[in-house]
Symmetry: C2
Subunit: 502 residues, 2 copies
């Protein structure tokens, strides 16, 4: 008997025709029917005569399936049973209460992301190092690219390419001569023939993330290109997008990032992005998270198909501090996917301190937003986490994990900014029995030696001092009414106040 857990991935495979171009000349489709849903999905050709169809069930119970298409004269039918989800399987990501992220099973999700754009394209040794770091539980989302990356600190050819063909010679490339304006001469690709090995490599990464409860924020297109993948024509784009969706959509941890820095992709128009979005909405039956990440200009996050804001800061000085404004403007979750990286490279987007990056996380998240990490320390072999993965060298990951632990203790479905004095940031739960049931007061770069709180004199409050840098939580007793809490006069302190029952 075939079984799969709810929100697990069921893969059916069948051998089919190989004459001509199996990627374009044949269709393959699956229909999956249970008591509560009937889902029709496209399959894909995986090479060597093998066609595959993938499915993620959203309900427990008995299902039937039917695999058909021009790829074969045989229609395959059968049945399977969907079992209860395992302990760490909370389903795909959804939006709740307008602005909050929540797993489909109702578990709140506080996104502490990281970015390793090209980690999937690295040699096995580097991937193993990356996985060991991810084992530490610092992050629960990762942004990474399907297409290989051509950018400073990243000129080596990837381990695999997404299409059959021959890449331009990469020797002689250097930081000094890097430019976005590449003519793509010297490349020879057949965009009608995806390279299954490349996509299996991507899937292995998605699965490794899934094992670690990390959402896979897949960047489908990007401008860092010397091969011409950013300038394919509409037919090639559509083939690529359909292939990506058919292969990846059944993984519950997938998010679709249509592009990184879409506004740097000079060959693409807004119509193109809307077209890809339409395709996604049509072909992804699971409605995974969808967004587009900017360099300068935000995409119009009001577009109905966009599930959340995937933002890069637009100002060097004030950015995550605008989270409330963007929540109000777009009425969607705000995910700060790029707010500068901890590191010491020459560029300002990659040389802030661990303290400052951690501060930005707290500022974003106590306002009800989410934040993403990256690391760009100069490295003797030029292996930078932000691009390659590998080993982490910074101070922020442990603090980000600590922040997530604190956030996970929030009751309700998420935080929002609460009322506070001018010089503090107060995060409160979004909907609770009492208005002051749970508050985190954060002081950022302020260094108060004490703070006075004015609460209900008829209620009792448990007070804790949180050192967000030293990662300690210290009990400061139970108080009522107006009370003064001594603090160490250091930066990056927070105070949590929880109303307690007698």
């Amino acid at each position: 008997m075939i079984t799969v857990e709810k929100w697990g991935m069921l893969e059916m495979e069948a051998v089919g025709f190989t004459a001509g171009n199996p990627f374009t000349d044949y269709t393959v489709q699956g229909v999956f029917t249970g008591k509560n849903e009937t889902v029709t999905v496209d399959g894909f050709y995986d090479g060597d005569g093998v066609y595959k169809v993938r499915f993620m069930p959203s309900f427990e119970g008995d299902y039937t399936y039917e695999i058909s298409g021009s790829f074969s004269e045989t229609v395959t039918k059968g049945s399977f049973t969907v079992t209860a989800p395992s302990a760490n399987n909370h389903g795909p990501m959804r939006v709740a209460g307008g602005i909050h992220l929540i797993y489909e099973d109702g578990t709140p999700y506080y996104s502490v992301g990281t970015t390793c754009y090209a980690w999937a394209h690295q040699p096995e040794e580097t991937i193993q190092k990356t996985l060991r770091e991810l084992d530490q539980g610092y992050f629960n989302k990762m942004r990474f690219c399907v297409f290989p990356k051509h950018y400073i600190h990243n000129f080596r050819d990837p381990e695999t390419f997404p299409f059959e063909g021959t890449p331009v010679d990469s020797s002689g490339l250097s930081e000094e001569t890097f430019t976005y304006f590449v003519d793509f001469a010297g490349n020879d690709w057949d965009f009608t023939r995806p390279n299954p090995a490349h996509f299996r490599r991507m899937e292995r990464c998605i699965e490794e993330l899934l094992k670690r409860n990390i959402e896979a924020d897949i960047i489908v297109m990007h401008p860092y290109d010397r091969w011409g993948f950013s300038q394919m024509d509409r037919a090639a784009d559509d083939l690529y997008w359909n292939y990506v969706i058919a292969r990846f959509a059944a993984y519950r941890n997938v998010w679709w990032s249509l592009a990184n820095e879409y506004d740097l992709m000079r060959a693409k128009t807004l119509q193109d992005w809307e077209h890809y979005a339409e395709l996604l909405c049509k072909k992804d039956p699971y409605n995974h998270m969808r967004s587009v990440h900017n360099c300068m200009a935000f995409y119009d996050y009001n577009r109905p198909w966009i599930t959340h804001c995937s933002m890069q800061r637009q100002d060097l000085y004030r950015h995550v501090e605008y989270t409330g404004e963007y929540l109000a403007k777009y009425g969607k979750p705000v995910v700060w996917d790029e707010i500068a990286y901890e590191g010491n490279i020459d560029m300002g987007w990659g040389n802030i301190s661990g303290q400052e990056l951690t501060r930005r996380f707290w500022e974003a998240m106590l306002r009800g937003g989410h934040a993403g990490h990256g690391e760009t320390y100069v490295h003797p072999e030029d292996i930078l986490w932000w691009s390659h993965g590998g080993e982490l060298h910074g101070e922020s990951p442990a603090r980000i994990r600590f922040l997530h632990q604190i956030l996970s203790e929030t009751p309700g479905i998420g935080l929002k900014r609460g009322n506070g004095d001018f010089d503090e940031l107060v995060g409160v739960v979004d909907a609770m029995t009492w208005p002051d049931a749970y508050e985190i007061h954060y002081y950022g770069f302020g260094r108060p030696s004490f703070r006075t709180y004015r609460k209900d004199p008829t209620a009792k409050y448990r007070v804790e001092i949180i050192d967000t840098w030293e990662m300690t939580v210290t009990d400061a007793g139970v108080h009522s009414g107006t009370f003064r809490i001594p603090l160490p006069g250091k930066e990056y302190m927070a105070v949590r106040i929880r109303r307690i029952e007698e």
Copy 2:
């Protein structure tokens, strides 16, 4: 023979009538005539039958004077000679090139201020400590109040009061019960009788600052009041303003700050401020600097009588970084008189680090603005520099002095923001022979391990690495064209690039 140096202060005194109220019942006036100017000023009653008239000459050479008025039946006439200014006497402050501060003799002025609101009202021991700190040359402007101050950390009565009368009992005041809403009951003042001892105390402070080349940014009114000085009627206000002008205007280092946090003075209207300004413009023949300092809402710095913007930051996160916007909006010098203080008190306006305050100074000043310091460390005797003066405990003053030393090396009359990459702040001289003659690139909280500069390949540039925190300037050689400068990967670094002749 009477002599006074140019921009020095000449004081003439004469004995006069004492019947009735000499502060209101008699007039005293001086007319001072030299080859290039005739200046008519009001004098003032200084107690004990003595009337005084003060004058600051703006030209060298021979002058005559005539003291007259209803205070006496005698008209005093005479002559004096104005000699050249002494070495550190550069004259009163002026505005040049629209947005720059410059002494009247043409010496550029980069304002590194501090604030000791109530230092003039302290016991001699504290004043001596303050003066010893000022001897260190950290600052070249100080903001302080004429009226005593009623505010947290400052409930003790001042050494002297500005009027004859009896103050409300100050016992039992505390931080916890502090409020702006005082009914002033228990005070008994005669607002028609200023207390000369109080004003002499102020003048002694102005003179001590003058000796140290520190501008005296005199706060004439303020809202921190338990005595009713912030709610006097128009007649009392006018008497006070006239008395202040008659006494202080002849000191070349005087700036007029009409108020601190004018928008918190609930008894005063915009019409009142415009009235005081009109009075100042009419009665101060030297046209000292004039502005009004905000709490929340900026005063309208476009008003023609305002010489410069005296600003308090309006946002916790981004403030001095708006300097360029305000320079463009108002076309006047931008002086950031309150950008939070180094310290560790509970309030966010008084608990930032020395590093952060120093960063704010650099950000303000490389954009062509000016900045002010304050210090608010918790102190066992509750003596805080920002209010009382006393001893400094912070790390920023030495760095501010270092910054001023760097700024003083700027050619021309001032800095402005130049072109730079997105992740650096570049200060350039406002008008020079070559557009790239002199540049300071500042990296703030960025930590670059190197930077690449693209300059004219046919010119030569002297490069220096400035550690703004460690206060070092390190020669990095002479370069041309595109060159890369190694940096220590630390926060708060700057690079100065000067075009040099062969």
